[in-house]
């Protein structure tokens, strides 16, 4: 087994290196997945049927909160990995917990927003525009939810085993995933909400 101590902890074994490359490739597939959802959304975004238009629906306040929470969580996630590289377990855990809480906050705001939409009579069944909107946001939200479960599982492992090759590798891969969700959100913020409000 190759064991190169000049590399960062999460890259040190051959298997770990393969895992990181594999996850980057998987993120490539995820980009295609979200691109398809965006394409569907752009295609259907002016097909309101009898349902509401984005102008009647969107409110900037909640969306700004979501953006603030998720972008900050991405930053704290980066700090967690930085602490991990320095071998500092306690700050790493703290930053991870903050990340998770901000993620949870994002999800809370998103769910409230969905409930408001449905209250206003805008459901996933109302029009093609709303079907594509809910599916795009919902797929992103489902990714965040999965990320929360996954991140929690990794935190428990870091707590249990400390920072070793296995947990460092897992944490690093999780951070890639979390940053990716942030990137997707930036596109949603710009091309769904801001464009819809223009």
């Amino acid at each position: 087994m190759k064991h190169d101590t000049s590399l960062a902890l999460e890259y040190r074994t051959e298997e770990n290196e393969n895992r990181i490359l594999g996850f980057w490739l998987f993120l490539g597939a995820e980009i295609v997945l979200f691109s398809t959802l965006f394409t569907v959304f752009f295609t259907l975004s002016h097909r309101y049927g009898n349902g509401p238009t984005p102008h009647e629906l969107f409110e900037l306040k909640g969306v700004l909160w979501e953006t603030f929470l998720l972008l900050t969580s991405s930053f704290t996630c980066g700090l967690a990995i930085h602490s991990m590289r320095l071998g500092l377990k306690k700050p790493m855990m703290t930053f991870f917990i903050i990340t998770m809480l901000f993620g949870l906050g994002f999800l809370g705001v998103e769910v409230t927003e969905f409930i408001t939409y449905v209250h206003d009579g805008a459901t996933i069944q109302t029009s093609a525009f709303l079907s594509s909107l809910f599916t795009l946001l919902g797929t992103h939200g489902a990714h965040v939810t999965f990320g929360l479960l996954w991140g929690t599982a990794i935190m428990i492992q870091v707590k249990k085993y400390g920072i070793d090759e296995a947990t460092a590798n897992k944490s690093f891969i999780f951070s890639l995933y979390w940053h990716f969700l942030d990137v997707v959100w930036i596109f949603i913020f710009s091309f769904v909400y801001l464009k819809g409000l223009m």
């Binding site: 087994m1 490359l21 594999g22 398809t36 569907v40 809910f134």
Partner: protein, 648 residues
Amino acid sequence: MKWDEFFVTGEPMIYAADICIVLASLAIIIGLTYFKKWGYLWREWLTTVDHKKIGVMYIISALLMLFRGGVDALLMRTQLAMPNMTLLNAQHYNEIFTTHGVIMILFMAMPFIIGLMNVVVPLQIGARDVAFPRLNAVSFWLFFAGAMLFNISFVIGGSPDAGWSAYFPLASKEFSPSVGNNYYSLALQISGIGTLMTGVNFVVTILKMRAPGMTLMKMPMFTWSILITSVIIMFAFPVLTIALLLMMFDRLFGTQFFTMTNGGMDMLWANLFWVWGHPEVYIVILPAFGIYSEIISTFAKKNLYGYKSMVVSMVAISLLSFLVWAHHFYTMGMGVVGNGFFSIATMAISVPTGVKLFNWLFTLYKGRIEFTTPMLYALAFIPSFTIGGVTGVMLAIASADYQYHNTMFLVAHFHYVLIPGTVFAVIAGMHFWFPKIFGFRLNERIGKIAFWFIAISFQVAFMPLFFLGLNGMTRRMYTYSPETGFGPLNMIATIGAFGLAIGFIFLVYNIYYSFRYSPRDTTGDPWDGRSLEWATHSPVPEYNFAIIPTVDKLDAFWFAKQDKKSLFEGKKIEEIHMPNNTGGPFVLGVVFFFLGFFLVFSWWIPAIISGVVVLILLAMRSFERDHGHHIHVEEIVETEQKLRGDNA
């Protein structure tokens, strides 16, 4: 829901199938119990993470699905043999052409190719396994769960009946109210996720795990084709994932993606389907090109002509494959610019494909050709595939396509591409690599009988369809009147279809016969091969290579034999680290099967429970700390001696 809505009733053929399914299941259970093979099955197969065994399981599944799809084909051909036949009614015919298409492409061609690449690629690059052996097992079990889910549809709930392309609005809840298309969306989704992971797995394997010295341009052509195929899989399959998800939402949750009201757009489905569907065609044909390259070069005893141009043309095909999807619906009214673009892009694909054909011909030129069974398939491929390709260029001409669109001409075209292209290739590949997996060759005499039946019957079955199509017979019509004059050519085609069936029976019989009577190969290199898979023993030991070979050129094994050198010189046997077997992937597959099944019938509570179980299984995997095991040097030396026959 009443029981007679749950089970498909009222059709004698379905009742016969029910009885057969029950009898076959009982026979398997009793057989396994009687011969005390449950433990063997669990330990050696269901929990395996060995790429060779996973490959074998893929190939066995593919052969079973070939049988299922083949029976569908025979039923259709019998129905069409004469005018006004009443073997199948319109509904039953619709279901059968749908399942025939889906099964042959997704559950026969794909797993056959994935099976061969599982067996061969790690050996060709001198690796001990794929990059993620356990993920590989997950891929297989998800594929298998999807395939089983799709196959039970015809006895439970009803098969999908909107064609393999499942166009909307026909495939919507409104026009296809049965659960058939729910099966379609969920079964394809589950197996598609498995395929996507296979793509990621093989890109990492090929990029990171090649033997020392094997640069990208020294890789065997089959490995090259799999690298490119895996990249196409990674970019094409997420589109299918979304298309199927939206289809499921439309059918189960009443969304408005592909509906005719409230802003839905039915052609959006056709676009999404073919954005995946056309690259999919190249996912099944590029590995075939790789297989033929290996076989032609081995049995012409020459290095492959134009290696670099082979690679470049495959890359070109893979890029173009994403730019041609709309040629499947020129008649939808895209306008001149759209049709013109897709027409030219489609014709452009024939250039790199033509380069490849000429390269194979130049490889054969002045070669010392051995007419083995795999080579016969490769030689039959070249002219037949050319007919398929040339008629493809005819179809690519948008203005002329208005004449051929959705006629038997199209059906003939894609069978001319897929059968000599993919099916001949996987059969040839199976004959070629069979001795590597099992340690003996398939019988050549029976193999050649099967070949001649298949090759001739193929022409008899599909050549008439070109003329029927030009005469105006549309595809997917379940019967026709005598006045159309379609009768005689249809009869010829049906005779050809049965000839093909006879050929496949010979093929399967050959496997049985060779298991019993074929002489065992002790060299590990029965064909005088060129690439690394022939440098180890047959059957291949668990760890593939006791010593990882060192490579300095393309076909290094061939040149090492010429120069009487060894690829293993100067290295000692060391302890080998291998992954542990695990039941996790199998259990995950089972749970996914039930998740899909419950969703098909919209049984929400069991579906949610299954979904939670999936998450729990993933979490359990995350918490597991499995470091694999080590095979010690003495054990390796002992195995190697036994395989060499030193102390038999």
